[in-house]
């Protein structure tokens, strides 16, 4: 409970909004006006925060990757290059938006918008603080999955409307990958939902703060699988084959220039923010920090955690090479999905035992955590060995050194992509 419940108690912005709503009612407006006004304020607030975050993170990403590359990132535009994001945005706005003659005009124009919308809409169900959620749906988790699946149509529309075979290949690859990883996402989130017993995001955060534990400590496999599946869904490295610079130019958004390309670029960032937001909410405690939310505003905690998860994504982008589409898909179908099946079974059993016997949470959860960690590590290692990864045949190997001229050391080839 916040100490002061006045409108200037910014630890919970709901106080200010509540005061505004009362004020509007005092002015004699009908019942639905405060509701609409607070909704509009929330939407505008989220959008502004997203845009500002994106502009700042363009700079952060490029500096951080520059550090990983042992070089300085952008440092010319503005002090220390801080205005780089603004400069990029202005450049994209001023560029000529070339539309090839043979494209499908309506779809071409509508595709960037269609890609942008899911990324923003997901923020409606993410709780930024206590009661600071735009729309506390009963099926919040499922909503995130559903909106993410609209992405596939938008990607296809972008690729098809370009009337360009590279773009179409990129779009088809992307759709294949998206479909493959949707199931993994669903199962990872499902295991969280089973344990908590509710699909509402606010309930999951309350469960985590009530039991003083972050979900990823209890379900590491779901956490890792969701991060990987999310990386693929938002089309970020190591899964950005469809927009890989060193492959087929830029994949499904090859033909887009100017602000339309800016939309694709921004949509990728927004989708990554949304993904980070969902990860923080479901696996990392949301806006709670073991009681610190009494003093520090919940939304600051949430945003800090979100930025930390986003940093993880930047790190992965700077470090890992890119996987081929078919390798990614086979990883999903042959590896991750099987692990997720086992995970669901185990979680279901654990939840059943917990509910039936009505044990105390603080005794049962550490046991579950230990079981899940052991299971996660054991399963990953075992299954990888069974599938042939990490064996001497496919392990890294340095070249053999020799002094004899003319001798042949060939041992026979491994199959492709072993």
């Amino acid at each position: 409970m916040p100490i002061l419940a006045k409108w200037y108690d910014f630890r919970d912005l709901g106080n200010a909004i509540g005061a505004l709503q009362d004020q509007i009612l005092d002015w004699g407006a009908p019942d639905w006006v405060p509701y609409v006004v607070s909704g509009i304020i929330a939407v505008v607030g989220i959008l502004l925060w997203l845009l500002v975050s994106q502009i700042v993170f363009i700079w952060i990403e490029r500096r951080v990757i520059g550090l990983m590359h042992n070089r300085i990132g952008p440092n010319r535009v503005g002090p220390m290059g801080l205005l780089q994001g603004v400069a990029d945005a202005i450049k994209l706005l001023l560029k000529e938006a070339i539309t090839a003659r043979a494209t499908d005009k309506i779809l071409f124009w509508a595709a960037p918008i269609a890609i942008f919308i899911p990324a923003m809409v997901v923020f409606a169900v993410i709780p930024f603080g206590e009661g600071m959620v735009l729309s506390d749906l009963n099926v919040g988790v499922l909503f995130f999955l559903a909106i993410g699946s609209i992405n596939t149509i938008a990607v296809f529309a972008a690729g098809w409307a370009s009337n360009n075979k590279y773009a179409l290949i990129g779009a088809m690859r992307q759709i294949g990958m998206l479909i493959s990883y949707e199931l993994v996402q669903v199962f990872a989130l499902l295991s969280v939902v089973i344990l908590v017993g509710s699909m509402r995001m606010g309930d999951i955060v309350a469960w985590q703060s009530g039991n003083d534990v972050w979900m990823f400590a209890i379900q590491p496999l779901a956490f890792v699988a969701f991060i990987i599946a999310g990386l693929v869904e938002v089309n970020r490295s190591p899964a950005d084959l469809s927009e890989a610079e060193s492959e087929l130019t830029a994949g499904y958004h090859t033909e887009y220039s100017g602000i339309k390309f800016g939309f694709f670029y921004a949509a990728e960032y927004f989708a990554t923010f949304a993904l980070s937001g969902v990860i923080v909410t479901l696996f990392m405690g949301g806006w709670t920090l073991w009681g610190a939310e009494e003093w520090v505003p919940g939304f600051l905690i949430f945003v800090t955690k979100l930025y930390a998860v986003f940093f993880l994504f930047i790190w992965a982008r700077g470090t890992l090479p890119r996987l081929r589409t078919d390798q990614l898909m086979s990883f999903s179908w042959k590896f991750l999905l099987e692990l997720m099946f086992v995970q669901i079974l185990v979680i279901g059993l654990e939840t059943l035992i917990w509910r039936e016997q009505a044990y105390d949470a603080s005794t049962v959860l550490p046991i579950f955590g230990v079981i899940n960690w052991v299971l996660a590590i054991g399963l990953v290692v075992l299954w990888a060995r069974m599938l042939g990864h990490g064996t001497p045949r496919t392990a890294g190997k340095r070249a053999t050194l020799t002094q004899e001229i003319g001798k042949i050391y060939y041992e026979g080839a491994a199959g492709p992509g072993a």
Partner: protein, 177 residues
């Protein structure tokens, strides 16, 4: 149908659904037709949500707009005549006539039937109710549907597999010459 919000939402969703469905039949380009189909699915999802069926509404988005439309798209893209104009067919007039007759029949049935208004209050937790029903009362259809889907997937794999193996041997011979 109480407050203005629900009425406005209903009419918006209804116009979107019916309008898009009409456009599916009316546009010439097949891919445009699919996009309008997606829009009409989204409209139906909106209608579900106005009826407080939140789970079904969201699942409608997930399954229909997310997966079934991709299925339709793949089917269109893989047919050789995907680029043809939708109106170049001799079935145009008979199609419209039959569709009109079916629509009239259904509307008549919908308007004239004495629908039974349920006395139960709305469900708060539709997801939970659906889950319990699926695993309690309707477990047999659930399992049968699962088995059916498994058989369909196996069938698809077998069809593709046999073709793939065949075409691979052909390719290898071509390269080796």
């Amino acid at each position: 149908m109480d407050d203005t919000g629900t009425v406005v939402a209903f009419w918006a969703m209804a116009i979107m659904t019916v309008g898009s469905a009409l456009m599916v039949g009316a546009v010439r380009n097949l891919i445009h037709a699919v996009i309008f189909l997606v829009l009409s699915f989204l409209g139906v999802a909106g209608l579900y949500i106005t009826l407080s069926a939140d789970f079904v509404g969201v699942v409608q988005i997930l399954i229909y707009s997310g997966a079934i439309s991709i299925l339709v798209i793949f089917a269109i893209v893989l047919t050789p005549r995907a680029g043809r104009d939708n109106s170049e067919t001799s079935m145009l007039v008979p199609g419209v006539v039959i569709a009109g007759l079916v629509a009239t029949m259904l509307s008549y049935a919908a308007i004239e039937t004495d629908w039974n208004i349920s006395s139960r209050e709305g469900f708060e937790e539709t997801a939970q109710a659906i889950g319990e029903a699926l695993l309690d009362k309707y477990i047999l259809p659930f399992e049968v549907a699962g088995a059916l889907m498994l058989v369909a997937m196996l069938g698809a794999i077998i069809i593709v597999r046999a073709e793939g193996a065949e075409s691979e041997t052909v390719e290898v011979e071509e390269v080796e010459e």
